[in-house]
């Protein structure tokens, strides 16, 4: 399955990584090399095999319903690039 520059651009968009148009052919080439390598998996007979869900099976851990966290705006905002009036600020989102 060959990946063209259009697919590479779509993937970059989905991943929210800006890739210059001029870099798309090289990116598509790398994708093709990696995916070609991955294609080996098609040689394996996986019929009747369940996909692995957890490598070390155990019961899912659970918490009791109690408020044990929060009330720490100073720590939540400490690393924020743009924080105003109690909120994280981002460029305007158009809905």
């Amino acid at each position: 399955m060959a990946i063209d520059t259009e697919t590479a651009a779509r993937v970059a968009k989905l991943a929210r990584i800006k890739v210059e148009d001029s870099d798309l052919p090289a990116l598509a080439g790398e994708f093709n090399a990696i995916l070609g390598f991955i294609e080996q998996l098609n040689e394996v007979d996986v019929s009747g095999i369940e996909p692995m869900t957890s490598v070390t099976p155990m019961r899912l851990k659970r918490r009791v319903d109690a408020v044990t966290d929060g009330d720490q705006q100073d720590k939540i905002r400490a690393n924020a690039p743009d924080f105003r009036e109690g909120f994280f600020a981002v460029p305007k989102v158009v809905e």
């Binding site: 869900t53 899912l60 009791v64 109690a66 929060g70 705006q73 939540i76 909120f87 305007k92």
Partner: protein
């Protein structure tokens, strides 16, 4: 030819040990007349109900509404590097409880998946949800439209997921502001089949679902705070197409749907469906095609519009969350939850009808909330159910509504109301006096019998005293007596005069009899 809505349907309900058959007719679908022909509506709903937990689904931060922005935020909620989710046990239990309440299949093994998309109020860049293996499978909601008419809406699934945060777009001209207080709060997404056939049914569905959730205690149903929200999938089709879909479950018989996001009022749900259906009809009638998309209802403009931001990222790349293991629950635990379920609205209503002889309407009103049903039952435990229903619905509810009070903060207790009714039944006070007494109890409190005693409100049943009053009125009004003899209907005038003369305390039945006898009617 049996059109679907003409079928009589029946469902069985357990009332104590007995099974009760509820029969009902299905309502007619909403029909919109187009320029060329009629169109029918087909609606499916995804209701997001906030689980009534104290802490969030995967973090220990509070779910309390109305906190300072970004106060109810744990590092997990802010998706700080290296943070990991650990699930809140209570939330799992509430989802199971809800599933059982909707008579649904409970899946002993379910799993969490990541739904990946970028949005500023989604810090992880993914929402933890359950796509491939939801905790609850097929269930149902019986949606009451009017006495004897109901729609059985199939529930496809219920899954547990995280809520997103809140983006505020109107605080700054160039920036959007993000509050993560709601981020990570536990939701149940209750997905219906497209079995809802009109705007009123859609609202009724949400009302019924909300009622069941509140009965179960799994969601407070507060729509104003956004604790119950609905995404509405609307499509239109030609008459007859829906029946073909229903028989085959083949969606190709139906029209292309649009999803209207995030509705949190019954009124807007109905308006939006109506507006959206008309939009689709006009597209179809002018030869166009409806594009499947997510839309937003603008109540100010009364229109729906496409949500660009949601359309750009349509590829959610779901995959099992590797931070969480599959969720395995035990049948014994599910059985314990099932055994602890309260009586649900349909059963309670049926029991009120059969045990207390109430009308379906009265039973529905009384069972709308558990608190009012409980109140009624306490009153009815001592007296006739019909009289109790009449007093609870007409007097108490009316009075509470005037003061904008909930039944839970009623100034009159069930015992007090039962006391008032008891005085009527024993003949101590008349119905009219009872209303005065109720008002006194409502505003001032106190034991009704004591108040009647203290304030001399007791009805006069001493026939001697009443007789004297009747004689006096007859003696004072000879002309009226003549008229009454010619026209017995005028006897009521004498009754009124006697009541007036006795300050309303005379037993009306005794007055009636004496007046009739004295006038020789």
């Amino acid at each position: 030819m049996s059109r679907l809505w003409l079928c009589r349907k029946a469902t069985k309900l357990a009332i104590g040990d007995a099974m009760l058959d509820l029969t009902y007719e299905t309502p007619k679908p909403k029909v919109i007349a187009g320029a060329k022909h009629d169109w029918e509506l087909v609606i499916g709903m995804e209701v997001h109900a906030q689980i009534s937990s104290k802490a969030k689904l995967f973090s220990g931060a509070s779910t309390k509404f109305g906190a300072e922005p970004n106060a109810n935020v744990a590092f997990v909620d802010a998706a700080m590097p290296g943070m990991l989710p650990v699930i809140n046990d209570f939330c799992i239990e509430q989802a199971v409880r809800t599933g059982l309440g909707l008579k649904a299949q409970i899946n002993l093994t379910s799993a969490f998946d990541r739904k990946n998309y970028f949005y500023p109020d989604l810090p992880q860049g993914y929402q933890i949800s359950q796509l491939y293996h939801p905790i609850v499978g097929e269930g149902e909601v019986l949606v009451d439209m009017e006495p004897g008419v109901a729609r059985l809406v199939r529930v496809e699934r219920i899954h547990i997921e995280q809520d997103a945060g809140k983006s505020i777009h109107d605080m700054d001209p160039n920036m959007s502001f993000v509050d993560l207080n709601r981020t990570g709060v536990a939701l149940m997404e209750i997905v219906s089949r497209p079995d809802i056939r009109g705007p009123e049914e859609a609202a009724a569905y949400v009302i019924k679902l909300r009622q069941i959730l509140r009965y179960l205690g799994t969601c407070d149903g507060n729509m104003q705070n956004g604790n119950l929200r609905a995404d509405v999938n609307v499509s239109v089709c030609l008459p007859g197409q829906y029946e073909k879909y229903y028989e085959t479950q083949d969606f190709s018989h139906l029209g292309t749907r649009c999803e209207i996001k995030n509705m949190n009022s019954m009124r807007f749900i109905q308006q939006a469906i109506d507006v959206e259906a008309k939009r689709q009809i006009s597209i179809l009638e002018s030869g166009g095609k409806v594009v499947q998309e997510t839309r937003l209802y603008d109540p100010d403009k009364g229109e729906t519009r496409s949500m660009r931001s949601k359309e750009e990222a349509h590829d959610y790349r779901y995959f099992p969350d590797p931070d969480l293991l599959p969720l395995v629950i035990e049948q014994g635990w599910v059985d314990d939850i099932a055994a602890s379920l309260p009586e649900l609205p349909d059963a309670k209503r049926a029991r009120f009808i059969s045990n207390f002889g109430l009308s379906e309407y009265d039973a529905s009103v009384l069972t709308a909330e558990t608190a009012s049903a409980d109140f009624f039952e306490q009153v009815a435990a001592e007296h006739d159910g019909k009289i109790a229903a009449n007093w609870v619905i007409n007097e108490l509810f009316g009075r509470l509504k005037k003061d904008d009070l909930e039944i839970t903060s009623s100034p009159v207790s069930p015992a007090q109301l039962a006391g008032v009714i008891g005085l009527i039944i024993s003949g101590d006070i008349s119905g009219k006096i009872a209303k005065d007494l109720f008002e006194i109890v409502y505003t001032e409190g106190g034991d009704p019998a004591q108040i009647v005693e203290d304030r001399g409100m007791k009805q006069v049943t001493d026939t001697g005293a009443i007789e004297a009053a009747v004689d006096q009125v007859i003696a004072d009004n000879p002309a009226q007596v003549e008229k009454a003899k010619a026209n017995p209907k005028l006897a009521g005038w004498f009754v009124g005069q006697v009541m007036k003369a006795t300050g309303g305390k005379a037993n009306p039945k005794a007055v009636n009899q004496l007046v009739a006898a004295k006038l020789g009617l």
